[in-house]
């Protein structure tokens, strides 16, 4: 493999991995706070992409305006999901909330099939993001390929700042330790949880929009595979850990792309490679790469 081809693979992997990471961060944040796996996350991601489609192609709004509207609408949807499907189950056993999450996921997918139809839709790609740049070594880049990882890293950085440097972030981390004690200390627990859901949904919207730009097709089930992959990335990095989710996503992206690069004859099995690595890592580090070690109680 020549160097420029290898560099091209690295760029592709960075793009794919940071998208997985961005979706995974949404999973991990909700899990970290509520110990709830929000299976509807991938579908919120799909809604984000659809809102951009409607704003830009159906209502012909400028792309940037469409993106802002889509993020706001998706956040509202995320908050609604929390209010309707999760909040009434706050004190129920965790498995009930999990089943509710699966129910929401199926509901959103099938609702989308009915309302949007199953036909894949096109995506507006701003020309400025698609203008190819050829580097001296023969590596080709499109600005979008750089934009995706940059946006992902900036958002994850901002989220880390929020979690570790601000009062609401402190409250979120407190809730993850002990929800009752946090409430007794005067924190409005439901508002903080809603904030976490809102942030998670906004991140899903951004990821959905970037995903649709990179892989330009919008359809009702587009959130399924990225959702599962991102969930894997989150477990991989240690569920509950924001930097872990990002690292997990990047590793997953690199394994998928590099397995094709080094074993082209087995290119159909790239998912199998990714899962194999996951199983191996979990065998040696059951809590994931950056996961919290659960102390055995004696």
């Amino acid at each position: 493999m020549s160097l420029n081809i290898f560099v091209q693979h690295v760029i592709n992997a960075l793009s794919l991995g940071s998208l997985y990471g961005l979706v995974a961060v949404g999973y991990t944040m909700v899990y970290g706070i509520l110990r709830l796996i929000n299976f509807a996350h991938g579908d919120i991601f799909m809604l984000g992409a659809y809102f951009v489609y409607f704003a830009t192609i159906v209502y012909k709004l400028p792309w940037a305006v469409g993106v802002v509207i889509a993020i706001i609408l998706t956040t509202v949807c995320g908050l609604l999901v929390d209010r309707i499907a999760y909040k009434p189950l706050r004190n129920a056993p965790r498995i009930s909330a999990l089943i509710s999450a699966i129910g929401v996921s199926f509901f959103i997918e099938n609702f989308a099939v009915v309302v949007f139809t199953g036909m894949p839709r096109p995506v507006v790609q701003p020309p400025i993001l698609m203008q190819p740049i050829t580097l001296s070594s023969g590596v080709r880049l499109i600005p979008l390929g750089i934009l995706v990882p940059v946006v992902a890293f900036v958002l994850v950085g901002a989220l880390m700042w929020l979690l570790y440097r601000t009062k609401p972030g402190l409250a979120m981390r407190a809730i993850s330790f002990d929800i009752e004690t946090t409430r007794m200390l005067g924190v409005s627990v439901n508002k903080i949880i809603a904030l976490a859901f809102g942030l998670g949904s906004a991140l899903a919207a951004v990821a959905g929009i970037l995903w649709a730009l990179r892989y330009p097709r919008v359809e009702p089930f587009m959130g399924m595979t990225p959702g599962i992959k991102a969930f894997i990335a989150a477990v991989f990095g240690g569920i509950g850990s924001v930097p872990g989710a990002m690292i997990g996503g990047l590793i997953l992206g690199f394994v998928e792309i590099m397995s094709v690069a080094f074993f082209p004859n087995l290119s159909g099995y790239k998912d199998a490679f990714a899962f194999l690595i996951l199983i191996l890592i979990l065998l040696f580090r059951p809590a994931g790469l950056l996961g919290e070690r659960l102390e055995d109680k004696i």
Partner: protein, 376 residues
């Protein structure tokens, strides 16, 4: 008294059978006239009926079409064939649109020993291991050979690669036919890469293809994935061409892929009413169709429905008899028969080998490039 009636009934039935054998040739048509496949089935039936109205006699005997609806349902398809054979005592059967329906009906005809000619059932399993099932269309994977022949012979491209959906039988079958045919003609296959249905990221495979520098890549994909592959290939600056098959034949690829699908080619059946150079049979078919259906364009399904009748007529004439067993033997030796969808030859697996059309997307529209005779 009851015995007398029974005897009368038997005599009447026997007389009926004897009549059928002597005077008329009964041809059963089972197709989907209602249900989800009704659109295709109706067009095929109209094609068969058109052929029947133009050629109402074979060997000097009147031909009677017995039409039954299989309702786009597997159980109904088996019932329909049973009815045609037991009730109507047909000599041969034509049908159907939909491979699963053909398979359900085929089992019944096979046991009864009545020959069937399939219209547009393209799944290889329809005729596999069957003694009495034939078809007037080519099987799906055969298109791979067509694409290979066009790339190698007509475009003169010597290095090819394939990018196949490994979780889809259609795609895998076409890919294999392409590679076998291309290598046999003396071409070189430089890469054979895979993906899975539902994938959205093809950058790794495409980068690998760019490294291997093929002249052309065969992409037997469905349009939703195919359009994304073409788009990502353009973004990565791939300078090889792509050729696909009929699963890419959907106007949506232009909506999804935009200018990235310009120059993309795919195989298709060798009939379209907008074709420039039509063979004699096709020209006649188009003209007669327009007389009967002035408000409706003919399409490939109606052409295949027509061709089934043409093929059956040819077989009966060569056999010199309308006995099911003799028709079967004659169908097996069908060779170089002029039909609407090209010169048809039946091969060892009872599939039609014929020319196919090559289409290119130019200015967002399908342009008919010409015909190719696939080399298997």
């Amino acid at each position: 008294m009851r015995k007398f009636f029974a005897a009368c009934l038997v005599v009447a039935l026997l007389a009926g059978v004897a009549f059928a054998d002597d005077d008329v040739i009964k041809v059963g048509v089972f197709n989907c006239l209602t249900g989800q496949n009704a659109f295709g089935g109706q067009l095929e039936l109209e094609g068969t009926q058109l052929a029947h109205s133009l050629m109402p006699e074979i060997l000097g005997k009147k031909v009677e079409l017995v039409i039954v609806d299989n309702k786009s349902d597997k159980v109904e398809a088996a019932n329909a064939v049973t009815r045609l054979i037991e009730n109507d005592k047909v000599n041969a059967i034509i049908g159907t649109y939909g491979s699963s329906l053909a398979m359900a009906g085929g089992e019944v005809a096979e046991k009864a020993g009545i020959p069937v000619i399939g219209t547009s059932c393209t799944n290889p399993l329809v005729t596999e291991g069957k003694k009495y099932y034939f078809r007037v269309c080519f099987i799906d994977p055969f298109q791979g050979a067509g694409a290979a022949t066009y790339a190698f012979r007509n475009l003169g491209l010597k290095k090819a690669a394939t990018l196949v959906d490994m979780s889809n039988d259609y795609s895998v079958g076409l890919g294999k036919f392409f590679r076998d045919s291309y290598k046999k003609m003396g071409g070189e296959i430089v890469a054979n890469l895979f993906y899975q249905s539902g994938d959205t990221d093809f950058t790794a495979q495409l980068t690998e293809l760019i490294a291997k520098q093929p002249d052309i890549v065969f992409l037997p994909a469905y349009f939703a994935e195919g359009a994304i592959v073409l788009k990502q290939a353009k973004e990565l600056g791939a300078n090889f061409r792509f050729i696909g098959a009929d699963a890419m034949d959907n106007p949506e690829i232009v909506t999804l892929g935009g200018d990235a699908v310009e120059g993309f080619m795919h195989t298709t059946f060798a009939y379209d009413p907008s074709m420039q150079e039509m063979n004699e049979t096709a020209a006649k078919f188009t003209e007669e169709w327009r007389k009967v259906h002035p408000d409706k364009d003919p399409n490939v399904n109606s052409a295949l429905g027509y061709d089934c009748y043409v093929m059956l007529k040819d077989a009966i004439e060569r056999a010199g008899s309308a006995e099911p067993e003799k028709i079967r033997d004659a169908l097996e030796t069908t060779k170089d028969l002029p039909t609407v969808t090209g010169i048809t030859t039946i091969n060892a697996t009872h599939d039609a080998e014929k020319e196919m059309g090559i289409v290119e997307i130019r200015g967002g529209k399908k342009t008919f490039l010409g015909l190719v005779k696939p080399e298997v």
